[in-house]
């Protein structure tokens, strides 16, 4: 009887989680800018360090944008649950009566919209700087839109597993990087195929599959990993 009067609707709870994620991120703007600056710096420094030849840069551009995107997303991962774990709000999240995997899916999407999305918005400028042919920009953006959420979602599992360890930072990268390599291969492979004039639908289908798998399965793994970490 208590239930009907006091329990929250699921969407209201999810909104609370989303709002708080965005609000806390907004109050720590500097942490948001960090991965973006890293992304830009890697791409700007590369021609200086290797070769400024347009022909070479054109060849390397796609791979470079993708590698930089992968690494800078990785940079922001250890922040995903750390402060919530330290101040005890993770316990409250685990004890919420709503399904934990949905709450975590919202958390991951918030993380992506704060790290992956700005990075995608920045990428065309950097790609053009590397002499990527402009007609292939839409394909590159599409692969980034499909690929970066996968990195955020898979990274969430690693972050959840290592959150209770004092020095989880390096471990997250070690755990997560191998799992994200298929995303990198197909992400840059799609754009390369498009530059080479090959059909890209097959590549895109595989990227779509990875996105769907990550969206549907990784929150469950993250939820279980978090329950384990919180019980320590």
């Amino acid at each position: 009887m208590n239930d009907s009067t006091s329990s929250q609707s699921l969407s209201a709870v999810l909104m609370h989680v989303l709002k708080r994620e965005l609000l806390t991120a907004f109050r720590h703007r500097q942490a948001l800018i960090n991965p973006l600056v890293f992304f830009a710096i890697v791409i700007v420094l590369f021609p200086l360090g290797v070769s400024p030849e347009p022909a070479f840069l054109k060849m390397a551009s796609v791979g470079l944008v993708w590698v930089a995107a992968l690494l800078s997303t990785m940079l922001s991962l250890d922040r995903l649950f750390q402060s919530d774990y330290d101040d005890g709000s993770l316990e409250q999240l685990v004890l919420c009566p709503e399904p934990l995997y949905l709450l975590l899916l919202v958390k991951s999407l918030a993380h992506w919209s704060l790290t992956g999305l700005p990075l995608i918005l920045m990428s065309p400028f950097l790609a053009l700087m590397l002499h990527l042919p402009p007609e292939h920009l839409p394909v590159m953006l599409l692969t980034l839109v499909m690929g970066t959420p996968v990195i955020s979602l898979i990274g969430g599992i690693g972050a959840a597993l290592t959150v209770s360890l004092r020095s989880g930072g390096v471990l997250v990268s070690l755990l997560v990087l191998p799992l994200t390599i298929p995303v990198l291969i197909f992400g840059s492979g799609t754009v390369q195929a498009s530059i080479d004039g090959l059909p890209i639908m097959g590549h895109l289908a595989i990227m779509g599959m990875m996105l769907v798998l990550a969206l549907t399965l990784s929150p469950f793994a993250t939820a279980e990993a978090l329950k384990m970490s919180v019980s320590n």
Partner: protein, 224 residues
């Protein structure tokens, strides 16, 4: 009154090769206020975490309304209020934002209720100040404001009076006594002297012997 809400059956728990408790049996009834007592490291927090379903490496059974706790976790959680010794307060948010989120995970509420609760805990005028600018006691009070709003039937409160002044503790004690009368079961740990009528005490001894007494006068014999 009288039916056990939460029941511990033959609980054994070992952490880091140390036996915290073995063969622990206890019944928490509707309207009980139970204080866990014991020296530091006796396993008070661990027991509270086991009871709230956060910690699950133990032998034995925890029954909630005569059914295994692990089997009804969503239903159980909708009737549980857990405040840990980590207060779950984000320093970069204001008391109002913190309270809104923490309550939002549990139940529906009106915006005006939040202001009312913050006023009750002595934080009126601080609603929009970032928590990092509040004192430790005030931060604790933000998380205790949930006590004024919660509809939960089982409260598990771990060291909630840390950094709270004497008048504050007295005020919250009164609230707990009132809630217990209305049928809320309260399990808590604290190092403050509580002066509540019908407080039950569950003593955990570091030497893993359990003493229990029913009245407010508790005789704990020294053991080894």
């Amino acid at each position: 009154m009288g039916n056990p809400v939460l029941e511990i059956l033959n609980l054994d728990c070992e952490r880091d090769d140390r036996l915290l408790f073995s063969d622990l049996n206890y019944q928490f009834k509707v309207g009980d206020i139970v204080q866990l007592e014991g020296p530091n490291g006796a396993g008070k927090t661990t027991l509270l975490r086991i009871l709230s379903g956060l910690f699950s490496s133990y032998d034995g059974q925890i029954l909630w309304k005569n059914d295994l706790l692990s089997r009804n976790s969503a239903l159980f959680q909708s009737e549980l209020l857990f405040i840990g010794h980590k207060s779950a307060i984000k320093l970069s948010l204001s008391p109002l934002e913190n309270l809104r989120y923490l309550m939002g995970l549990q139940q529906t509420f009106n915006e005006s209720d939040l202001f009312m609760a913050l006023e009750q805990v002595g934080l009126s005028g601080y609603e929009y100040v970032l928590c990092r600018n509040l004192s430790a006691g005030q931060q604790r009070r933000v998380s205790l404001a949930r006590l004024y709003l919660s509809n939960a039937r089982l409260w598990i409160l771990d060291e909630i009076f840390t950094a709270i002044d004497k008048q504050g503790v007295a005020q919250f004690e009164k609230l707990l006594a009132k809630k217990a009368k209305s049928g809320v079961t309260i399990i808590l740990t604290t190092h403050h002297e509580l002066s509540m009528p019908n407080l039950r005490i569950l003593s955990l001894n570091a030497a893993s012997t359990i003493f229990e007494c029913e009245t407010d006068i508790c005789e704990v014999t020294e053991h080894e």
